[in-house]
Amino acid sequence: MPEKKNNHKFINWVTAVNKKYAIGIPLILLVVSTVIFFSLQTNIFEPGTISRLTNSNFRTWLPVLLLTMGQGLVLIGGGLDLSNGSIVSVGNVVLALYITSADEPWHNLAIVALVIAFGLAAGFLNGFLTVYLGLQPVIVTFATSFIYAGLALLLLPTPGGAIPRDYTNFYRNTQYLGVPFSLLLLFFLLLLWGIFRHRKYGRFLYAVGGNPKAAYTTGVPVTWVKISTYVLSGLLASFGAISYSLLTGSGFSGSGADMMLPSITGAIIGGISFSGGSGSLVGAVFGGIILGNIRRIISIARIDSWAVTLVNALVIVFALAAPGAINLLRRKK
């Protein structure tokens, strides 16, 4: 039966790609979900629609995608960062409170630097507590997430503040050669990671996540590599805060609360495992995009508005369960 043989070949090819780049299944899901999303649009053949939709999707997803990258790094290193959403909240609140006019570029730049510095410091605190003091990452970052979220609420008890329109318009509408700014930034960051992935840092990271004891005995600075993942996660969370503020143009102390779980889910769909040392950042970004596509498709499907919360939560749980379920089935065979 030639058909079956062909099928086999295809599966082999997919496993090969999956093994080499760890993005086989996420890539297929990405293509499928994107095709479904676009085919559900009514005026897809009008010129400019695709570009407009791409722009609106990616500028909305960028904050979560940035967090997903950070989460991916932490997960590969064998940790978990539950405070990244709260770091976004703090950054968003600070930006909305202190960037009020486009006439003071230096002041604004200083505030942006402050937000980035906070992200780095918060990430370092997470890393210090979990790695250096040897506390459990899950419970520690859960605790610090409370501290950061409380800080955001303290700074801005009620939603408010306004980012100048010049800035938000730049973020929302800038395109180079038809590629939106948000997508370019993603490409740039992935390219940057691609450079580091196959150098010392990347190899150390996967070694530390895969088997910290072996990495330690072969002279890998385990402590610092692990701390660096939390710092990078904090940094990317502060980028997420900046892009989120530019997207919404206002401040809200709970802005990042709904980003933490999707950031983990995206990384998991993208082929990164909870046990660390496997998966790739490209896969994580794909996972984040898949999740975004699914949410868009759901919103097009126009389900009962009382059911939206449940459906979104079920999507998250099923997405988290899928890799484990596939593994379970494979082992049974």
């Binding site: 978990l80 539950l82 507590l129 459990q136 409380g150 889910t265 009382w306 939560a313 484990g324």
Partner: protein, 333 residues
């Protein structure tokens, strides 16, 4: 601050290698805090006032401790175990009771069974996802919390109407005998049952065994997966039962009733010396921890600190407890 004083005491004790068990420290801390609270302007001045305030604190602490009961089991079971769906499950238990019983004493027993079964089913999903699909407990239960919350919204459609049965009010909200609230008797009963479960049953022994080392437990004949699933089922059922009791006290239920108890109950478990990495702990510790956290919360409320600052203090407190008790072994040792 009082907490830091006590922290110093604890570290001093450690230095001198004087062994005082954490639950005992928590109990002493609770007494100290209670005596200090008498010095506040809003505090008690007579012995009778002190007793009344003490009973009130105990009554409020009882809910934290009862919600913390299932949490204690899950945390002892190890593997980064934690149940974040406890908050929404409490809400579900409370709302089911509130809306179905609707003031009829005769419906108490069937509804109680329904409540416990619902909690157990949610716990079963948690347990299965964690053991067979290898989802990190924190992420699984957080995802489940979203699903439960979403299901609640779909079920109630934002409309909460009902009434608690008179017997429940009598038991949970009023004084039973000698001016002691009925809740405290229920709490004592639960405390005895929990301690017997942990100390005197095969389940308890196996729970500590899997908490210390799952591989060793499996090799010595413990069915680890079944134990973990059962523990989450038990935790879900207990959380739902806490909701049943809680609504008897509050007489009113809303969509976020349980969530405000989640973080305090986790801190209570931590203060009571139950190791966050599992394998060590007691329900007596959780009782003591619940009293401590209720006293701190009352103290913060009388000081009229904003909610945000309370949140920061809770988060910092948890980090502090973790630093004192919860160190994992570093790679070097």
């Amino acid at each position: 601050m009082n907490e830091t004083d006590v922290t110093k005491n604890i570290t001093n004790n450690n230095k001198k290698h004087v062994k005082i068990s954490p639950p005992l420290i928590a109990m002493l801390l609770a007494m100290l805090l209670f005596l200090l609270s008498g010095l506040l302007p809003a505090g008690y001045s007579t012995l009778q006032g002190a007793i009344r305030q003490g009973l009130n604190i105990l009554r409020l602490a009882s809910f934290i401790a009862i919600i913390g009961a299932g949490q204690t089991l899950v945390i002892i079971s190890g593997g980064e175990g934690i149940d974040l769906s406890a908050g929404p499950i409490v809400t579900v238990g409370a709302l089911l009771t509130y809306m179905i019983i609707n003031g009829q004493n005769s419906l108490i027993l069937p509804v109680l069974l329904l409540v416990i079964a619902t909690g157990a089913v949610i716990g079963l999903f948690n347990g299965l996802g964690i053991t067979y699909l290898k989802i990190s407990p924190f992420v699984m239960t957080l995802g489940m919390a979203g699903v439960v919350q979403g299901a609640l919204i779909l079920w109630t459609k934002g409309y909460y109407d009902g009434r608690v049965a008179p017997i429940m009010t009598q038991l949970a909200a009023r004084d039973l005998i000698w001016g002691i609230p009925g809740m405290i008797f229920i709490w004592i009963l639960i405390g005895i049952l929990m301690t017997l479960l942990l100390e005197r049953t095969r389940y308890g022994k196996q729970l500590f065994a899997i908490g210390v080392n799952r591989v060793a437990a499996r090799l010595s004949g413990v069915k680890v997966k079944r134990m973990v699933v059962f523990t989450y089922v038990l935790a879900g059922a207990m959380a739902a039962f806490s909701g049943f009791l809680l609504v008897g006290y509050t007489q009113n239920a809303g969509p976020n009733l349980g969530n405000q108890y989640l973080f305090p109950s986790i801190i209570a478990v931590a203060i009571g010396g139950t190791q966050m990495s599992g394998g060590k702990g007691s329900y007596f510790g959780t009782i003591a921890g619940a009293i401590v956290i209720q006293l701190i919360s009352s103290l913060l409320t009388t000081m009229q600190l904003p909610q945000a600052l309370q949140q920061i203090i809770y988060g910092s407190l948890l980090v502090l407890i973790l630093i004192i008790y919860g160190r994992e072994k570093s790679l070097r040792s």
